[in-house]
């Protein structure tokens, strides 16, 4: 891992919200070598209307470390000038942001692949767990891991 590569990775684990536009601007302002920026925003869904909030638990220290490891692999695989990951923890209401990935590159396919790779590995390897809180005041279930998320990793082999 070169210093240059490491310098371009930013990982933030935080309770507060983020703004994708502000993050894109911060990464691209006064730069003339970035032709493509791909962002992924993951939001809290509630399709049947029963959810009051998701509570995101994380493993402090390891969450940052694991996402940095995933980001370093992405930067080794594709020519990314920046890779930013923000993951929230705590209670998150339906419709609110959970995670943001911003991948910058001179070329669009690298930016798409870098962001998509990062999300696939973050889903299955970053130490976060979601618990449902329901509108009726009860504490719902811990969200189960999806086989489809493990499956998604295979395309990067």
């Amino acid at each position: 891992m070169s210093d240059t590569t490491e310098a371009n990775i930013q990982v933030r684990i935080q309770p507060h919200d983020f703004d994708a536009g502000i993050e894109i601007a911060a990464l691209t302002d006064s730069r003339f070598d970035i032709g493509a920026v791909v962002t992924f925003s993951g939001l809290c869904r509630d399709e049947n209307g029963s959810l009051s909030a998701l509570e995101l638990e994380h493993y402090p220290g390891m969450a940052e470390a694991e996402i940095i490891r995933i980001a370093e692999k992405a930067c080794q695989r594709w020519p990314l000038s920046h890779l930013l990951v923000i993951h929230r923890f705590g209670k998150i209401a339906p419709g609110e942001n959970i995670v943001l990935v911003v991948a910058c590159s001179s070329h669009r396919q690298a930016a798409f692949d870098g962001a998509s790779y990062l999300m696939d590995f973050l889903k299955t390897r970053a130490p976060f767990w979601k618990k449902e809180h329901l509108k009726d005041g009860s504490s719902g279930e811990w969200v189960s891991a999806k086989d489809a998320d493990d499956e998604a990793l295979k395309r990067w082999e």
Binding site: G42, L56, E57, H58, Y59, G61, M62, A63, A65, E66, H87, I98, V99, M119, L122, K123, T124, R125, A126, P127, F128, W129, K130, K131, W142, V143, S144, A145
Partner: protein
Amino acid sequence: MKVLYFSWIRERLGMDEEELTLPSEIKTVGEFLAWQKNRGEEFEAVLEFPDVVRVAVDHEHRDHDETIGDAREIALFPPMTGG
């Protein structure tokens, strides 16, 4: 050694961390889980299906057949659901 518990494992055990001194014969993650399972009813329930329990040693994922080494911190948690 610090041992951390997360998510429903933390809830079922009723604690988020503890200090443990492991018997010297425990070398692998799997041996550690087998030893933990004998520590009482709650541990037995949590480790009924040890394959679903994920383990990190000093902030890195470890498979059950890997060694623990001289770890400062071990964490047990279910499969992750972030993102």
